[in-house]
Amino acid sequence: MAQAVKTPRIPLDKQILMTVNGDEAVAYAVKQSLVDVVAAYPITPQTIIVEKFSEFVANGEVHTEFVPVESEHSAMSACVGAAAAGARAFTATAANGLALMWEILYIAASLRLPIVLAVANRALSAPINIHCDHSDAYGMRDSGWIQLFVENVQEAYDTTIQAFKIAEDERVLLPVAVNLDGFFLSHTLENIHMLPDEAVHEFLGGYRKIPKVKVDYFDEEVPLAINPARPLSFGPLDLYDYYFEHKMHQVEAMKRVPEVVREVNEKWYELTGRKYGDGMLVPYEVEDADVIVTVLGSTAGTVRHVVKKLRREGKKVGMVRIRMFRPFPHKELAEILKNAKVVGVMDRGISFGSYGPSFLEVNTALYDYKEKPLLVNYIYGLGGRDAEPSLVEKMFEELLKDAEKGVVENKLRFLGVRE
């Protein structure tokens, strides 16, 4: 339900100003979110999240059961078990750790367990590399998780709290991955505003509420949770006779995510004064733009800086940051992009033998429009390669030339690679 009552704003001077890095910001958000179980295995650049959180546990500052497991596969499995028992569960990982979770990611989503996972985005091996790209997140694209990408440390804090609210909404009941760029955000200090504990508790409505289901053998609806008094089976054998129907539940739940993300974004704005576009897309200077660039994560800051510079020079350029990658807001994005001449799609990852994953989405979004922009895919920043302003500016200059010519010769370009 849409909230009719406005949430009273907590003014900035009543918020807590802290200097933290992205990982610590996530840890503080989890601390304030009344999380019952955290199960995690360390991996750079995520390690600080659980390291910091384990301090809260050791100091008795949280009630959380902390499970130091032997692998990421076990971390997600423990979260699945905890969430199936009705707990609010959290874990964090990156790159190869996320890859090791792969099997259980699908189980978390299909059992409709509202787990929150922080991913400090990092390149996948080989060769081994600890720095940022989005190949890990793109790998879990089809697992049934909601995927949010943050631009800065403040947003990492805000989004982690929002993630529990979104995941646990009865219209959704899906796990949420909060993606923050490894090192660029995870290890970079920023001044951020945190809420008082009670405000976060109130925002989330206290501890996790368990949804109810109706099964034939109980007269009343029963909580969708493991309980010996009201036994339910989770994840039993389901063949060609019912599997397809159960997948439809995930399809339908994903359809309801945008309205919930929008509401949570608005409610957060009422409470804190901070909002991120419509919660899904964050446009900048797009109204009359001939060239628009789409981007995920922290690079948006650099792109915005360059757009500002080029606008001063009278060039009609703009940017859309894609905050929500799954479910992908096709229609909303197309409405923003449709009048541009050229759109550059930045992907910090590539599907080998195809294009960057977000390029495929932008194509899908625009295909049905008669009048639509030309599209170019820019693969950039793999393995943490810096996307400095001069490089982003070079991309805009290319795209402006394409717009002038009205034709795109090379659709797949690699930005900042040596030949």
């Binding site: 299909s110 059992l111 409709r112 367990l113 009941l173 949804p211 289901v213 109706k214 099964v215 034939d216 053998y217 007269d219 969708l224 339910l232 089976s233 989770f234 994840g235 039993p236 389901d238 006779d241 019912y242 129907e245 159960h246 439809m248 539940h249 339908e252 739940a253």
Partner: protein
């Protein structure tokens, strides 16, 4: 309880999270059995080792003798293997 939806159910009539809407005992899992344990009660000494070892709790004590519940027995043969007096024989199920 409201009237039951039409079987097999469509997705709109199924509980979320893929939890089964019927009891697990409603699913007769013995029908994939290839070998059937047959008890010779003249040999059986009622030691109950089969009852202990059966992984599916398909060996039942009826008060006088052991009985196999063929609704759930999957024919694994553990009972026959463990029987100290060889009172259980695994017999092929008819294939037609």
């Amino acid at each position: 309880m409201a009237s039951s939806p039409k079987e097999p159910r469509g997705w709109k009539d199924l509980p979320i999270g893929a939890v089964p809407y019927r009891l697990s005992t409603d699913y007769k899992t013995g029908d994939w059995r290839a070998l059937r344990p047959v008890v010779d009660h003249n040999k059986c000494v009622k030691c109950m080792l089969c009852w202990i070892f059966c992984p599916d709790m398909a060996v039942i004590w009826d008060g006088e003798k052991i009985v196999i519940n063929y609704d759930y027995c999957k024919g694994c043969g553990i009972c026959a293997y463990e029987c100290p007096v060889k009172a259980i024989e695994m017999v092929p199920e008819p294939t037609e």
